[in-house]
Amino acid sequence: MSIEIVEPGMLTSVQDPSGRGAWRHLGVPVGGAADPWNARLANRLAGNDDDTALLEMTVAGPTLRFRQPARVAITGRLDASLDGVPFAANAARDVRAGALLRVGNGAGARGYLAIGGGVNVEPVLGSASTDLRTGFGGFEGRALRSGDRLEIGTRSSSGAHRWTGSWPAGPIRVVPGPHADQFSPDALTGAAWRVGVEADRTGVRLDGAAPPSDALEVASMALVLGAIQVPPDRRPIMMLADRPVTGGYPVPAVVIGADIGRVAQLRAGDQVRFASVSIEEARSALRRAESELAALEALDGPRDDELGWAGSHR
């Protein structure tokens, strides 16, 4: 049994929240969900383990037909409807076989669709994530297309949930990067920025007042998630899940872990401001984000027999 991709939207792919970090010494990018917070939340709501495979949907979402009953949760910033009725984000729901789920535009760049029991794909190099650039992992190593049928798991045993937490707002918080002593993060925090058209799973490029020219030679080094690279054209790039393992541009600052998901939700034209915080504040923000992620409330859903659950799916 499966779900069918009726229409794939702008870019829908199979990802998991953690990606494959263990192969970076051979040049393999980490990958995984661009907004790992919302991906983990979707899994928790659907009753899955955090790192279960799910669908990442981009800007204009897909239309999907369920060919079996399933427990479903949508998180992130895309709006959705189920059989023509608005489908609330951040709460799990049981859907019947034959249901049509349409995911449209919304207030941000990405949404996540978790299905109880997960999307069944063969892990490659330790992850279900799709490496879209090299073309492996996920579903046939590529973005989903019309007519694809994805095998999904049977419903998980743990209960459905609704999320009652909140995400941070305000400027994107940064801590000093490895080259902050030669290239001050003030160049970033002291200016207003706008997201350029090059905003994808690799990174988000910014337009704005160029930071002071620093002809800084940097030997290629491995990059953390959130590293803000400044190439010679002086348009900063905030690096996300599909960033190359190594980069050779100076890094004056790094987006804190708690704000990575917010960067992944930015769309071309969005305004961006940065604020410097201390390492301690960054760690405290990360603990806070973890606890917000755990703000779940159990849902008493309709009984299975009302939804046509058959014994074979249990």
Binding site: G21, A22, W23, R24, H25, L26, G27, V28, P29, V124, L125, D131, R133, T134, G135, F136, G137, V175, P176, G177, P178, H179, A219, S220, M221, A222, L223, V224, G226, A227, P244, V245, T246, V251, V254, V255, I256, G257, I279, A282, R283, L286, R287
Partner: protein, 218 residues
């Protein structure tokens, strides 16, 4: 020198690729408590850690670095067949002009030396090769290509490299190999690993199909 790299990582600058590989391999093999990743670059190691880190990571890393004996890379010799020039080496003429030598001489020099994989990065299985003759030290393209074909053999910044897949890229392409270099379904997914020795062998167009696919000694 150790530099902070976000709230959950440090960048350890060690000076040379062999030490970076050695330190990263040591930290991956026996990670100190709380260390979640150790990734080598050209002359540095990114060390990532989680909230359960105990003790002083800088001290632990420096101790590990001091104890590091010379890194013993596998040092396998990898031979890469290359069809140079023409449609497969769009930048060969420019490289020859920059080097002030003929195209044939560029090929002769590129195939005359044994190179070494300094580190892998940029893309899965992309190996940065050091040990080029000085004449072949050319800058990157001013405007990178949006698509460089899989197998492209290229030069930039004093190094050589081979594109394992079709990728965007700013290196100068002088030829193309028919062999494959990355397969995520193999236990050792990259044909070229750090420390490997590499020699390029010129081939004729007629030999292309004979070499196509995964090399026999992968």
């Amino acid at each position: 020198m150790i530099r902070p790299f976000g709230e959950a990582a440090i960048l350890v600058e060690v000076g040379e690729p062999e030490r970076a590989q050695g330190l990263a391999a040591s930290l991956r093999g026996e990670p100190p408590a709380g260390v979640t990743g150790a990734v080598p670059g050209r002359a540095s190691v990114l060390v990532e850690f989680g909230p359960d880190l105990v003790g002083d990571l800088d001290d632990a890393v420096m101790t590990r670095l001091d104890a590091l004996t010379a890194w013993a890379p596998p040092g396998r010799l990898r031979r890469i067949p290359v069809l140079y020039g023409g449609a497969h080496g769009a930048d060969l003429a420019d490289v020859a002009e920059m080097a002030g030598i003929s195209e044939a001489e560029v090929v002769a020099r590129h195939t005359s030396v044994e190179l070494r994989v300094l580190f892998d990065g940029f893309a899965p299985g992309f190996a940065y090769l050091g040990g080029l003759p000085d004449a072949l030290d050319v800058p990157r393209l001013a405007t990178p290509r949006t698509r460089t074909p899989a197998g492209s053999v290229a030069l930039a910044d004093g190094m050589s490299g081979v594109y394992p897949a079709e990728l965007p890229g700013g290196w100068r392409v002088i030829g193309r190999t028919p062999i494959s270099l990355f397969d995520p379904h193999r236990p050792m997914p990259a044909y070229l690993e750090p420390g490997d020795r590499v020699r390029f062998d010129p081939i004729a167009a007629a030999d292309w199909s004979r070499f196509a696919g995964p090399p026999g000694d992968w």
